[in-house]
């Protein structure tokens, strides 16, 4: 999987890494058991501090998307991914609120908003590289 990080973005790098790995999984570019680069290697490729990579990997580990082994290194969770829980639904709700709020303020119609969601959903499920 090719990962693209924007260093001028306001969005922190560790979150960009986390989101892109999750997107990679969603698209099927990263499969359960696939290895990820070690913290050191990814840090050197991105020219960033190792703490940044560690933070991203720890987050993904807590969420259950990856496993970090002392010997085998970092792998995409081979035992499957977390399911839809009440906690997750609450987070989803909270993340959507401001987005929908802003869209409504800007005069966006419900159908247009849902249309965008649908397109993104299809892209993720269909998979493959590219936007």
């Amino acid at each position: 999987m090719i990962m693209t990080l924007d260093f001028q973005s306001d969005f922190p790098i560790y979150k960009q890494i986390r989101n892109q790995i999750i997107e990679g999984i969603a698209k099927g570019l990263l499969k359960p058991g696939d290895p990820l680069p070690s913290v050191r290697m990814l840090a050197q490729d991105l020219s960033v501090n190792m703490h940044t990579i560690n933070k991203a990997y720890q987050l993904l580990k807590q969420e259950g998307f990856i496993q970090i082994h002392r010997q085998r290194g970092v792998v995409i969770n081979p035992d499957g991914f977390p399911k839809i829980t009440d906690d997750y639904l609450a987070i989803l709700q909270e993340s959507l609120r401001p987005l929908i709020g802003e869209s409504v303020c800007r005069g966006m119609k419900e159908e247009a908003f849902l249309d965008r969601c649908r397109k993104l959903f299809q892209q993720m499920e269909k998979g493959g590289e590219g936007q």
Partner: protein
């Protein structure tokens, strides 16, 4: 013209220097990062051409100078002047480079390419899982040659003559003899071992060095990077093994009389061949595989993150925030170090200290 091979090697060096701007990555011109589609910008093309002509002219000047000096001085003095000449040539052409480096910087500022594109860093998450180099197991071959040489010397020690030739001139006459001792004959396998270690180390650097991918066309860039690494890895293994083999020849010659002239021709011929092969490899592959034709992709709106400020004079990488030690060169083909990392310095000191230590041990 006894030092004909010296001229050949010098001319190859001049050619390699002159074509450098043509074999570097398309994202970097004279040590300044630019969008890859700006590689053919007319002004930059002119810079490359001027640099080519100027470094060739300086090279021709040096060749003429060598030809004149050679008739005036003794051979050993000429060899010294020749070695100094190589350094002088490299320093002079660095100044030529630096002139265009500064002009490139001004041009970049003026044209404002950065403003129009988004700066990103692209990595292939499975890069190191792909086979980017040939196996380190290949270095068992030079190791076996080393062991064989050592055993040969050990079992034939009694038969080795009391005086060992150590240095030849261009006519194949011995100019320096040393007394036989376990220390002096052991020098050859020790040198072989050091060389094997050095080439193994180079192969490791090729494998572990930081990946560098052009965001304008990531898939193509990944493919090129892998081809680049694999070719230089193969080159390292082949040159390493054959050089170690060359060092097995002197111990053999102690017992079997190998004509020194033949020995000289083989050594010089091989050196020439290696440099020539490096030139061909540089031209056909380019830095990071930039000259390898692969499937052409779309023209992107993304460019590499601008890290010019970490490249001092456009060639020396000093970035304390980057954990990477081994990185691709900016101007030229091959790898360099991040001078902000102590490991880089330690490696440098070791590479200089080990041969120095061996030289002192011998005298």
């Amino acid at each position: 013209m006894m030092g004909f091979s010296l001229y050949l090697i010098f001319i190859l060096l001049v050619i390699i220097t002159a074509i450098t701007p043509y074999v570097t990555r398309k994202t970097e011109s004279f040590g300044v990062s630019v969008p890859s589609d700006m590689y053919n910008y007319p002004q930059i093309q002119r810079f490359r051409k001027s640099y080519l002509y100027q470094s060739l002219t300086i090279g021709i000047f040096f060749v003429v100078l060598f030809l004149i000096i050679e008739t005036q001085v003794k051979e050993d003095v000429f060899v010294l002047i020749y070695s100094a000449g190589i350094f002088a040539y490299l320093i002079l052409t660095f100044f030529v480079y630096y002139k265009y480096h500064k002009r490139m910087k001004q041009l970049k500022e003026k044209e404002n390419w950065k403003e129009k594109k988004k700066e990103v860093v692209v990595v292939d998450m499975s890069f190191y899982g792909k086979k980017t180099t040939y196996s380190n197991a290949w270095f068992f071959l030079p190791l076996l040659i080393t062991i064989a040489t050592a055993l040969w010397i050990f079992f034939r020690y009694e038969q080795i003559p009391e005086q060992i030739p150590m240095q030849y001139n261009f006519d194949g006459e011995v100019v320096n003899w040393v007394e036989k001792s376990p220390g002096t004959v052991a020098l050859f396998p020790i040198l072989q071992l050091v060389l094997t270690g050095l080439f193994l180390f180079i192969n490791l650097v090729i494998e572990k060095s930081k990946q560098q991918i052009d965001p304008a066309n990531p898939e193509k860039s990944v493919k090129q990077s892998i081809i680049f690494r694999r070719r230089w890895s193969l080159f390292t293994i082949i040159t390493g093994t054959t050089i170690v083999l060359l060092f097995a020849m002197p111990p053999l010659s102690f017992l079997f009389s190998i004509n020194p002239v033949v020995f000289f021709i083989i050594t010089m011929g091989w050196t020439f061949l290696i440099i020539f092969a490096a030139l061909i490899l540089a031209v056909t592959t380019g830095q990071g595989g930039s000259r390898v034709k692969t499937t052409n992709g779309n023209k992107g709106e993304l460019i590499n993150r601008d890290d010019d400020r970490f490249w001092k004079l456009g060639q020396f990488y000093f970035n304390p925030e980057d954990p990477a030690v081994w990185v691709e060169k900016r101007f030229g083909v091959g790898w360099t170090v991040n001078f902000a990392r102590p490991i880089a310095w330690i490696t440098f000191i070791l590479i200089i200290a080990i041969p120095l230590f061996l030289a002192i041990m011998l005298t």
